[in-house]
């Protein structure tokens, strides 16, 4: 079992490649339909999701709105990824699902000159102005992805494979991706499934908490959820009890740890209020 995440600096091009890869491998495509499901459950418009994912208009400023929407989308996405053989088209999946060895991440680049040409025609601006606009947007996207997700979307090392459609035709790109997906490196294993299950559980908990506790950071390992609270505030004990009760009801949670120190610190160094 392997899954493939495809993202692109030109979403319609990424979508076309994702669809063809899905058809070539017989994998299910996850994209618009999942987004529509989340739009239906959250009541947030598709356009707002696209903005929040940096797909339309200038990238949103970190921490501005859409927190609940993104968390809901991420939870729905990781839940789906627990299933077999999928191709994910966009959805910011490449920024969220990291370090899962059976997931192949692909970046499709559209030809820069052609993008600049189309932008110049669309906006009735000079080719030089269009190029500058595109370069500025790339810098914005880089800053945004780093500050929101801690990942540089423009850095090739973020991906397993980057394909420039300015140099490689679509058919060849699809074949290359499909061939690579067959590599044993991308076969699921106990370790990679655990990584994914941990992420999916953390996402489920995050989705449950985001409305009342938007600032809580969530990690999960083998059914044990670790919550990181930025500070102790008035009514701390009650907050801890509420968190413990709320999180304890999330399916798959076997234990809850509440920390006020970074999750990256060793257990012994963390200030735990109980487990």
């Amino acid at each position: 079992m392997t899954s493939i995440l495809i993202s692109s600096d030109n979403p319609s091009m990424g979508k076309a490649i994702a669809r063809q890869v899905g058809e070539a491998l017989g994998y299910d495509l996850v994209g618009d339909a999942l987004l529509s499901e989340v739009v239906g459950t959250t009541g947030i418009s598709k356009r707002d999701f696209e903005k929040a994912l940096g797909l339309e208009g200038p990238p949103p400023r970190p921490g501005r709105g859409m927190g609940a929407g993104l968390v809901a989308l991420q939870a729905a996405l990781t839940e789906r990824l627990l299933g077999d053989n999928l191709v994910v088209d966009g959805l910011g999946a490449h920024l969220h699902v990291r370090g899962v060895s059976h997931i192949l991440t692909i970046r499709i680049l559209a030809d820069f000159r052609s993008r600049a040409h189309h932008l110049a025609v669309d906006r009735k601006i000079s080719p030089r102005a269009a190029r500058r606009l595109l370069e500025r947007r790339e810098r914005q996207i880089q800053q945004w992805s780093l500050s929101v997700f801690g990942v540089d979307e423009t850095n090739p090392s973020t991906y397993d494979m980057v394909i420039n459609l300015g140099n490689i035709d679509e058919e060849r790109a699809v074949k290359t991706i499909a061939d690579t997906a067959g590599d044993r490196k991308f076969v699921s294993m106990t370790y990679s499934m655990k990584c994914l299950e941990n992420l999916a559980l953390a996402d489920r908990v995050r989705a449950r908490l985001v409305a009342d506790f938007p600032g809580v950071e969530v990690g999960a390992e083998d059914g044990v959820v670790k919550l990181l609270l930025a500070k102790r505030w008035f009514g701390w004990q009650r907050t801890v009890e509420t968190l413990r009760e709320t999180v304890g009801k999330v399916p798959g949670v076997d234990g809850v740890e509440i920390h006020t120190a970074p999750l990256t610190k060793r257990e012994g160094e963390a200030d735990m209020t109980g487990s």
């Binding site: 106990t190 370790y191 990679s192 655990k194």
Partner: protein, 137 residues
Amino acid sequence: MSTKLSVLILDDEPIVGKRLKPALSKIGCEVETFVDPQKALEAFDEKGFDIVVTDIRMEEIDGMQVLERVLAKSKETKVIMITGYAMMDLARSAMSKGAFDFIAKPFKPDDLRRAIAKAAKALGSSVSFDEPDGETA
């Protein structure tokens, strides 16, 4: 292949083999444990095993070398890698070299039993694995 699945467990920490042996015997495997990779490979050369479970980080001969040597001798053998230093690159590298599964330590005996059951199925055999066990190895 004998009726019972033969499993070789190699880990330079004796406690690992000591704890895993009964866990795998419980599901009908015939288990031999080793702490010395050289002795484990000699035993493998002599007897052959259906499944090898090996730690990765060991002195002198590491788990990746064990994987290569086992598969060079017997392509049918399923090799399951276990490590306390699991990372994506290492996992991919092990799978690419032919590992059957890769498990991060600490793990529950059920995780290994599940992997053994999968390996047994791939070998056209089966083990009686059904009940979950919460213990951690």
